[in-house]
Symmetry: C2
């Protein structure tokens, strides 16, 4: 086997370009950035979108608390400074995935507009599509859902600096997509994300 591999090796000067990777994967990389309150439904939508993309043969990958907070960002807490660094790193990693040709689905509360705008700017500077998807929900509804009991703990003062309770959520002013999960079904939400990608020629 090794001998076969050793044949047919050619290369050109310089590094592989994003265009070459896109041609290889037959798609253009992009970042879809889901932002919203805890329990807004961000990750539920991102998980479903990832499933549909993979089913349709697209290279897709989801970044969220599960694979970031316990890994890359495990040395960060929840101070304002650490939240900013958290989102800065995620913005950089999202950009790398999108540069690699992958449809990167990043799902984080990302409460501060300046931090999200910085992630967008990284992509803009590199000419990589960045789609901000605001997963909107009334605080009262999110608090009623409270699947992990976090709002309850925040109201009781057991968690400090909780977004929506004693730390602000700055809603996006110019998101490419707004999904209100108080009124839209999961199916409709997923369809809206796919339509948004389709409209930007990212699913061809």
């Amino acid at each position: 086997m090794a001998e076969q591999v050793a044949t047919n090796i050619t290369w050109h000067d310089g590094t592989v370009t994003r265009h070459e990777r896109a041609a290889c994967l037959q798609q253009t990389g992009a970042t879809v950035w889901f932002t919203g309150l805890s329990a807004s439904g961000k990750s539920t939508i991102a998980v479903a979108v990832e499933q549909v993309l993979i089913q349709r043969g697209h290279a897709a990958y989801r970044l969220d608390g599960d694979n970031i907070r316990m890994g890359l960002n495990k040395n960060l807490g929840f101070s304002a400074e650490d939240r900013t660094e958290n989102i800065r790193r995620i913005g950089e990693v999202s950009k790398l995935f999108a540069d690699a040709g992958v449809l990167c689905l990043s799902s984080f509360i990302s409460p501060y507009a300046a931090d999200r705008d910085a992630a967008r700017a990284l992509h803009d500077e590199a000419g990589i599509p960045f789609i901000e998807c605001y997963v909107e929900v009334d605080l009262a509804i999110a608090e009623e859902r409270d699947p992990k009991g976090l709002y309850k703990k925040a109201r009781a003062g057991e968690i400090k600096g909780f977004t929506g309770i004693d730390d602000p959520y700055e809603a996006p002013a110019n998101a490419e997509l707004v999904i209100n999960t108080g009124t839209m079904s999961l199916e409709a939400s997923v369809a809206a994300v796919l339509a948004c990608l389709e409209g930007r020629d990212l699913l061809t």
Copy 2:
């Protein structure tokens, strides 16, 4: 277009598995970790390997100083502590790429064995292939090449803590692959990496 997209949406409980992503990309993700002195030829080999992989239709991506030091790790310097954090983050990001199904080519001096071993452990714990490729070269040869004039500056004391001069390079004891660029051509080096991947069924 949007209406078409909205149809044919189905999903299952839980998140997309690594196995599903591998099936979609028709390959298994893995990390190839190139380590060696400055001017050892690590990045030259990684660039050429990436080109061949992309030509052959494999999803591949290279992490190196160009896209990490100026981005994700721009807030890190060259102290021992920062070097460790530098490699820790790169290990985490490499693991994410490999988890996404991509062949991740990580090219960094990564002089400390403990840091490389930590990157390997992250992969091992997740059951993700990690291939350490030691790009070996005599210091004298690397210093003679000195394409960026860094060794000269280090000898002159203009750069402190330079690997091989006044900071140690701890050679891997159990690398999956050793390439001596003092004696091997670039073509032979690339063939060796491909043969190593092939031997692990990573190019099927």
